[in-house]
Amino acid sequence: MENAEHIEINQTVDHLFRHEAGKMVAVLTRLFGFPNMEQAEDIVQDTILRALESWRFGKVPPNPRAWLYVTAKNKVVDIIRRQQVRHKVENEVSFLLQSEYTLVPAVNEMFTEDEIKDSQLRMMFACCHPSLSAESQISLILNTLCGLNVHEIADAFLSNDETIQKRIYRTKEKLRNEQFSLVLPSPESMPMRIETVLKALYLLFNEGYHSSHPEKLIREDLCEEAMRLTLLLTENRKTDQPHARALLSLMCYQSSRFNARLDEKGSIILLKDQDRNKWNRFLIEKGNEYLCHAASGDIMHEYHLEAAIASVYANAPSYADTEWKKILELYNLLLSINYNPIVALNRCLVIGETEGYDAAIRELEKLNALENNYQYNAAMGEMHFRNGNPADAKRFFSVAIGLTSSGAEQELLMNKISRCEITE
């Protein structure tokens, strides 16, 4: 194997093909309308195929992205000239495509930086249509905007190809039947629609962040995609809402710990034991920046508070120096806006730091709805252990083990049970 330093390998940008595929599908679906989405996807697939055929002989063009766009544009114009668009669609651009005076300029315009971003935004809103389930929304986002195929999506969610295939097929069919063109929601419905999109992106991020998928890179990819799309929202005047920025901030803080959460064997490292030198400072700074910019307008949204909580954790110099009281205040505020049992549970753990473990246990006992929840039992176990009750701790940890299918979490719990046994 040649020494890499001596080879000028033309490194094509990471994920270039699938990111550009996502962008081009959005652009072409906007151009041709939803009924022609399949044809749009075919054109994009063909374009990338041609790139592979040609570039594999070592001739990667100096501007790969531009090459892809030129190839796709030529194909589009050719198809239109030969009257080979499969379904007739009337939308805001269709008349421009009918005359040679306007065809090429219109197509070129669609491939400008701003229009590409606009098309992706429109596609995001279409994918997150309120009539679709959260899973459908996320699967569609990954398939159309992120360039992942059915197998890759199934793999990421530890699901099977057939389930995802059916889900995507049905969702696209629904969109085909109900929408003709990709448009941004009206100003009146925008707030509600943005909410749906943010929720989907949040879920997507969590899928990556809390995933038990064996391969770290896939988990990071999902988080990265969620962040990339959330960023897109903040870059457009019409969609740049304070809580979108807050969500982006939250995602930055959480991603900053990616390299510190697991050890070389893939075992979980708890926050208090993480090597903070492995935290990504750039992402923490970005989180701070976005949180700052999110502090506008009069509405306090959950994402603001979640980001604020994450901010206190991320900016603490050490676990011991974390401002627990501040975090507790934020949790109280968060729960007053929107009660969520898991958030309440996390608050109990903070009480452990501010008022002691006895108090934490008493607070946890109030959450009896969570009796059969993995995190509840793990938290109870942890509080009892730190409070000096290994027997009780072991009891809860043993229940918790049966409630999770994650190998890494089971391993963590086994270790804790062993420590209980040593202390007994």
């Binding site: 055929e53 040609s54 001739k59 063009p61």
Partner: protein
């Protein structure tokens, strides 16, 4: 001007190397290529030896000899400049391979 490749296929000529027939054959090729060069169309080209090896599939199985699944083996290639494919086809008409009932496959070389 665009680049095209000619892939020559035809009956195996069993001419003895250095025989008068072989030399006559070589002269024909030489003349044709020389003409292409003078007209500014010739870029490169080589005849191929009859032997070779083929590597196939995931297991990289090796078989002796040229690619057997094709009906005729590729005997050589030429790369030319031409205005378009029809021009390239026209330029191939004087190729000696036709005298022995052979074929020329004309394919555009993918541009960058």
């Amino acid at each position: 001007m665009e680049k095209f490749i000619y892939l020559f296929r035809g009956r195996d000529n069993d001419l003895q190397p250095n025989s008068p027939e072989a030399q006559a054959e070589m002269k024909k090729w030489f003349n044709w290529i020389d003409a292409l060069n003078k007209s500014g169309n010739y870029v490169a080209g080589d005849p191929l030896a009859k032997n070779g090896k083929t590597v196939s599939g995931k297991k990289k199985a090796i078989t002796d000899g040229p690619f057997v699944e094709a009906k005729e083996i590729v005997g050589g290639y030429l790369i030319v400049n031409a205005k378009d494919i029809n021009d390239a086809v026209e330029l191939s008409k004087d190729c000696p391979v036709f005298d022995t009932d052979g074929k020329v496959e004309v394919r555009p070389i993918q541009k960058m």
